[in-house]
Structure formats: structure tokens, C-alpha cells
Amino acid sequence: MARRTQELGRFTDVALLVLISLAEGQKHGYRMISDIEEFSGTSLEPGTLYGALMRLEERGWIEAVEPAERRKPYRITDGGRDALREQLATLRRVEQAGVRRVAWGTA
């Protein structure tokens, strides 16, 4: 996904947070912001969130769900789930490399 997310530009990190939030289940914008703040400590503003949602929707990684109430929820697609897995694997490799190098530095 690292290569695939290059086009997301400054929204790459936000897109990852949105995918993680939606991996748990469908959510509308308001709940996504609260959820992301809760699990990552990042407080997203609406302009940034919807910039990421636009890109994720365009790529087919998320899709809008017919709303049962006033607010429109989004859910992650199979493609989005694959992309998320790939990105998390990349982050794991980065994390392992980082931990190894920090250990070397202190040894």
C-alpha cells in the first residue's frame, strides 16, 4: 500500500486512521472523528476528514451506506481492507526496524 497511498499526499495518515476506524464497522463522520480521537489521540477537523473520505471513496476503499437515520455512514470495502492490511504490515516492518536500530544505538 505504501506505493498505492503515495497519491493520497498529506491525507495518507488520515486515510489510514479512517480505514482503521471503519475496519471495526460502519460509521458516520461524527463518530469517526470521536473514534479516531479515542484510539489515536488525533483530533481531526471536518475539512481534513472529508478530504480523506473523498480520496478513499474515489479509490473504492470505502463506500457510503444508505442511511437509516439522518447521518450518512461509510463502510470499508474488501479492497480497503486489503489496502489496510498491506499498510499495517509496512508499519510493522518499519516499527521492527526502528526497534532494532534503537537497540543497536544503546548497546
Binding site: 458516520h28 463522520g29 461524527y30 472523528i33 477537523e45 471536518p46 475539512g47 481534513t48 476528514l49 472529508y50 478530504g51 473520505l53 473523498m54 480520496r55 471513496e57 474515489e58 439522518r70 447521518r71 450518512k72
Partner: protein, 303 residues
């Protein structure tokens, strides 16, 4: 700053987003703004988001390609051209220096100057003469189709022609006045380049006529003929600019960077506008018409 003011500002910023974006996400974001605390950071974030949405318009789900209105492009182009012309001919030192330097190379400078002037004038003449091809078609449509839409379109062509006659005469008068030495003297090089700044506005002025004609199947072939003549005019305009480019290259040492920049930008704009006008006419005149069943005495034909 009060929360109410910030909330109002956020609402105002939302209206700056592209229409397609507002149709897709506007309600959801307005709901978010209404139900969460709005800070200065929120307004700034929305403003940045609006800029981003315009920059990446094609990414908005369901958005149609962003198209600038042709009229706005042409009007901006005409203003741009005349601004660049004014900047070019105001640099008298460059105009005279480039010409003197080029003239040292012999008769080539004179030939190039004559070529540029003649080609620009021919492009203008070709533009005006192209309209002659509409005349017989409009007349024939009036005679042949007394009840049809072709006659109405023919009338619209005539009325529009009368409406644009005055601006055309105005443009031609200014050009003739400048070439005959009225106002600031342009010098030999200034006279050679001036035509290139007047041909595209002339082409833009006559554009409505073939475009109106192209809306009627009976007048479409005449509109296509106008389009072909405009292509020739655009090519003549480009050739003239080529002659100007060689001329300026011969005396480049004497030209100021501003002069070269203004002239190069003018050339690009002039060639681009002429090509745009000609291409627009040809494209519209070649589009397949939406054929409605013909009206008969018994009503619409059943096919």
C-alpha cells in the same frame, strides 16, 4: 472571536467548495460543523479543504470534468493579449534596438517584417471572409424552410451578425489607426507584431456566428466551412509569429528580458486563442445533431 461568528464563518467557507463536492458531502459536513465545537482551526481547515477540493475536482465522486466557460476564457485572453501588446510596444528601446540589430544582417529583416505584417493581415482578412460562407446558406434556409427551425437559426445568425458588426469595426479601426501611425509610433518592429495581438480578438468576435449556425442541420455544413477557413487563419497567424520570432532572435542581444517575456507570452496566447476558436467551430459543426422526428402535416412522423 465568538463561537457564533466562527460557526457562521465555517458555513460561509462551506459555500466555497465546488458544487459537486457540496452535493456529495455538503450536508454531512454542515451537520458536523453544527454539532461540534467550531474553532479558528476548524475554519482554516475547511478553507484548506475547499482549495484542495477545487485542485482535485476530478476526484469528487460523481463530479463531471471541470470546464471553464469558453466565453470567459476568450474574454480573459483578449484582455491578456492587449495587456501584453501594451507592455511590448511600450519598450521602445527594445523595439528599436532589436530592429536595428536585425537590420544589420541585411535584407532578411525586411523580408521577415513584411511576411509577419502580411500574414497577420491575411489572417484577419481570412477571418472576416470566412463569414461569407454563411451568407448563401442562411438565405437558402430562409427560402427552403419557411416553417422550420433553420429559418429561425438563420435569423439569429443575421441579428447576431448585426450586433457584432460594431465591435468588429471598432477593432479594425484601432488596428488601422495604429498601423497608420495614430497614437504612439510603433516603429517597424512594433508594426509587424501588432497584427498578432488583433487577429485572435477578431476571431473571437465572429465566433458566435458559426456556433449559432452549427445548431441547425441545414446550416451545419456552412459552419464547418467557416471552421476550415478559421483553421487557415490560425495557421497564417502562427506563421506570422514564426517570422516575428526569427526577427527578434536576430536582434535578441538588444532586447530586454521583459520585452522578450511579454512578446513570447503574447505569441503563445495569440496562437493558442486562434487555434481554440478554429477548433471550437470545427468541433461544434462536426457534432452529430440530435435529430428530432420531422413534423408532417399529420403531426410528428412515427419514427
Amino acid at each position: 472571536m465568538g463561537a457564533g461568528v466562527l460557526r457562521a464563518a465555517a458555513g460561509a467557507v462551506l459555500s466555497l467548495y465546488p458544487k459537486a463536492w457540496r452535493e456529495r458531502y455538503g450536508e454531512e459536513v454542515a451537520d458536523l460543523v453544527a454539532s461540534r465545537p467550531v474553532r479558528l482551526r476548524t475554519v482554516a481547515d475547511l478553507a484548506a479543504g475547499a482549495g484542495d477540493a477545487w485542485l482535485h475536482h476530478r476526484r469528487i465522486p460523481g463530479a463531471r470534468p471541470l470546464r471553464l466557460p469558453l466565453a470567459a476564457v476568450l474574454v480573459a485572453g483578449v484582455y491578456g493579449l492587449w495587456l501584453l501588446w501594451s507592455l511590448s510596444v511600450r519598450d521602445i528601446a527594445s523595439l528599436q534596438g532589436v530592429w536595428a540589430e536585425a537590420a544589420r544582417a541585411g535584407s532578411l529583416a525586411g523580408e521577415l517584417r513584411r511576411t509577419a505584417t502580411t500574414m497577420f493581415a491575411s489572417a484577419g482578412a481570412m477571418t472576416l471572409l470566412s463569414l461569407a460562407q454563411l451568407n448563401p446558406a442562411v438565405r437558402a434556409a430562409s427560402k427552403r424552410a419557411p416553417l422550420g427551425a433553420a429559418r429561425t437559426t438563420g435569423h439569429r445568425v443575421v441579428v447576431t451578425g448585426l450586433a457584432i458588426a460594431l465591435p468588429i469595426v471598432f477593432v479594425l479601426t484601432i488596428y488601422a489607426g495604429l498601423m497608420l501611425g495614430a497614437g504612439q509610433p510603433l516603429g517597424l518592429l512594433g508594426g509587424a507584431i501588432t497584427g498578432g495581438f488583433f487577429v485572435p480578438p477578431l476571431m473571437a468576435l465572429i465566433l458566435p456566428l458559426p456556433l449559432i449556425a452549427a445548431t441547425s442541420p441545414a446550416l451545419r455544413s456552412a459552419a464547418r466551412a467557416v471552421g476550415k477557413s478559421l483553421i487557415v487563419a490560425a495557421i497564417l497567424n502562427a506563421i506570422a509569429w514564426l517570422a516575428v520570432a526569427v526577427l527578434v532572435a536576430m536582434g535578441l542581444m538588444e532586447a530586454s528580458p521583459w520585452f522578450v517575456t511579454a512578446l513570447a507570452a503574447g505569441a503563445v496566447l495569440s496562437v493558442g486563442m486562434a487555434a481554440l476558436v478554429a477548433r471550437t467551430v470545427l468541433r461544434r459543426a462536426s457534432e452529430e445533431p440530435v435529430m428530432l422526428p420531422e413534423r408532417t402535416q399529420l403531426g410528428r412522423a412515427p419514427f
